[in-house]
């Protein structure tokens, strides 16, 4: 009945190339490998957050507290730095602490049966508050240089280390969701929770694991954040959740769960990054960028409705001659 539009992933690639071409037209500084490679840095931390959120959304839940978890992780990291803890000890501890916060979300959602929106809305405030309580209003910037390498070093040539990290995480999460039992069960739960439960899947445990994974990735994103900006404060990444949710939704992940893949999310991140980079170079003011982002989010979720509308129009057009011939 409804003929499938060309693959959404392909559309995203085309849109990214179009956005790149448009950016090159707007600004003479855009088209250089150094510039483009360097610009990927800005998208590593929202990208990692989006990958974690994707797993949760595939499960049919939502976690809007990830940006606050990042802030908590960043402040915790700054505390370790202040006490002179070795980074190889501090970094896993930060990731583990953030995973625990994510796991707390998961327990509240899966064990108590609370709506994930209400829970993560609450913890969005609570975790950020916790970050402020743990740190202070002043923030912390005196990081040891060794703490900063994740976000500030370059892996090879102009490619930042953080971007390589992002790609590695993306491949890892991609394998996890598409080729492991855990991932396939996430899709099963997202499509039909009751049926999955009846089939013997421990839904609650899987949900807790997914939320903990999102938390752990937020911790990793916090390490990248520190490396990149060298500043830890309770309001770190405030408002980043809009970008993160936009990337997930634009990547073709169904907000009701069970549909979509990691490739789409990564491509959506590239599209958003290209647009942000181009608009930044072309001196498009921040508020207009925000409007574009919000509009993209809505277009992303309206996509099924638009596709159906087009299909209906096509049916009308096709059926008209048939009616006349009767």
């Amino acid at each position: 009945m409804i003929r499938k539009l060309p693959q959404w992933e392909l559309t995203l690639v085309v849109l990214t190339i179009a956005a790149g071409a448009w950016s090159a037209y707007l600004s003479p500084y855009y088209l250089s490998i150094d510039q483009i490679a360097d610009s990927t840095r800005q998208f590593v931390y929202p990208g990692i957050l989006a990958l974690g959120l994707t797993v949760v959304v595939i499960l049919g839940e939502i976690d809007i507290s990830v940006a606050s978890t990042l802030a908590f992780g960043a402040v915790l990291f700054s505390k370790f730095s202040a006490f002179g803890v070795l980074i190889w000890v501090a970094a896993p501890l930060v990731v583990a602490a953030c995973a625990a916060l994510g796991g707390l979300n998961g327990v509240l959602v899966a064990r108590l049966g609370l709506p994930s929106l209400a829970v993560t809305l609450g913890t969005m405030g609570a975790f950020r508050g916790l970050a402020f309580i743990l740190g202070s209003e002043m923030g912390y910037t005196n990081f040891d240089d060794r703490y900063l390498f994740i976000g500030s070093e370059y892996a090879f040539g102009p490619v930042p280390a953080s971007f390589v990290l992002f790609l590695a995480v993306a491949v890892g999460i991609g394998v996890l969701t598409h080729w492991t039992v855990f991932g396939r069960r996430c899709y099963a739960i997202g499509l039909n929770k009751e049926a999955s439960w009846a089939a013997g899947i421990d839904v609650a445990r899987l949900k807790i694991q997914a939320f903990a994974l999102a938390g752990a990735l937020a911790g990793l994103a916090a390490l990248v954040w520190i490396g990149q900006y060298g500043s830890a404060r309770g309001d770190n990444a405030d408002g980043a959740i809009l970008l993160v949710v936009t990337a997930v939704v634009l990547g073709g992940v169904d907000i009701n769960g069970g549909r979509g893949g990691i490739l789409g999310v990564v491509l959506a991140l590239f599209l958003l990054g290209t647009m942000r980079n181009g608009m930044g170079l072309a001196n498009v003011p921040g508020p207009i960028q925000t409007i574009v982002l919000g509009a993209l989010l809505i277009v992303g979720v309206l996509r099924p409705v638009i596709v159906q509308g087009l299909a209906r129009v096509r049916r009308l057009v096709l059926s008209r001659p048939a009616i006349q011939s009767d």
Binding site: L112, P115, V119, G122, G125, G129, I133, I291, G294, A295
Partner: protein, 344 residues
């Protein structure tokens, strides 16, 4: 879990299971919590119970109560509006700008925020009801769009109180029988809304849609229109609240009321409006606003740093949501018990 289902049909009395009391307890529970909170703060700091301080609390709560009521109206239909702060900011800025450009404009100015707020709310409603977009995503998008448009319109300017009409500046200080006018406005609005939701068909239908959309549709309710109406009504209330807030703070900036989405949701959820839709009422939401204002005030009096507020608010949302789930479980139990009784 065993529930008292034994006593076989003794008329109306036994039909009221534990669930009904639980539901009732939910709103009176907020009131009880508020009293407890006041007693605790009063014992810790005698300065809390002075008339001046209590006055300050209800004045702070008044505008939030209106926004919480707006949020409750949307929540009751099992939707959500995170763009309330942006609607407030947008309508407040445009109205203040218009007032600054046209000095001598009278009370007719009040219509402007209502219309703007209603229009912005209606856009949300169209997206959610007719575009079938998830309410969180739709309003998260419009949250940034409305705020962005305010920035674009303002071009970095702000409107100082000296450019606003006199009556608007005088509004927050006006009193009637010793009670601030803002509080009276908020109380009257909330009572009107509560009456509308309780006694009018459209109000009851909003609860029906929130309880079960498909059942309401089968019953013949125009669910989409009802959701659109809820968002529009919420928008109108937010527009008004934005105007009152602008009058209160005096200087209208583009960031006016940003972050209120979280606060209003906290107030509504604490007040017993369920995020799962179909239960709770606006009076509870308004009480939730008073609870938040009391906590804020108490924390300041106790000398606790301001950023604890976020933590307390967030935890309060989670706690209130937990209470709702427990109550919903009780309601389910008592319904099941009732059905068992109804069977011959």
């Amino acid at each position: 879990m065993p529930v008292e289902t034994e006593a076989p049909g003794e008329g109306d009395g036994t039909r009221r299971g534990l669930g009904q009391y639980a539901l009732r307890f939910r709103v009176s529970g907020v009131a009880g919590f508020l009293v407890l909170l006041c007693v605790a703060f009063a014992l810790l700091r005698p300065a809390f119970m002075t008339p001046g301080n209590l006055n300050a609390i209800i004045s702070n709560a008044a505008i939030l109560a209106i926004v919480a009521a707006a949020q409750a109206v949307v929540l009751i239909t099992r939707n959500l509006d995170v763009s309330v702060g942006s609607i407030m900011g947008f309508s407040a800025y445009l109205t203040a700008d218009f007032a600054a450009r046209h000095p001598g404009v009278g009370l007719a100015l009040l219509l402007m925020p209502l219309v703007i707020g209603g229009a912005l709310g209606a856009i949300n409603g169209l997206l959610v009801a007719y575009g079938r977009v998830s309410p969180l995503i739709a309003t998260l998008g419009t949250l940034s769009i409305y705020r962005g448009l305010t920035y674009v319109y303002a071009r970095g300017q702000e409107i100082t109180s000296s450019r606003l009409p006199h009556w608007m500046n005088a509004l927050p200080d006006m009193r009637f029988a010793g009670i601030p006018l803002l509080v009276l406005i908020a109380a009257a609005l909330v009572c009107l809304l509560a009456a509308f939701l309780n006694f009018y068909a459209l109000g009851r239908r909003m609860y029906a849609v929130g309880s079960n959309v498909s059942a309401s549709a089968f019953f013949g309710l125009r669910t989409k229109r009802i959701v659109l109406f809820a968002y529009t009504l919420g928008g109108v209330l937010c527009g008004l609240a934005g105007f009152l807030y602008a009058a209160r703070v005096g200087t209208v900036t583009v960031v006016l009321a940003s972050g209120w989405e979280l606060t209003s949701l906290a107030a509504a959820v604490i007040g017993g409006v369920s995020v799962a839709g179909g239960s709770g009422n606006v009076i509870g939401a308004a009480l939730g606003a008073v609870v938040l204002a009391t906590i804020d005030n108490g924390l300041v009096l106790l000398g606790i740093p301001e950023f604890w507020r976020m933590f307390v608010q967030g935890s309060a949302i989670v706690l209130a949501a937990t209470a709702d789930v427990i109550i919903a479980g009780q309601v389910r139990h008592s319904l099941r018990a009732r059905r068992r009784l109804a069977r011959p």
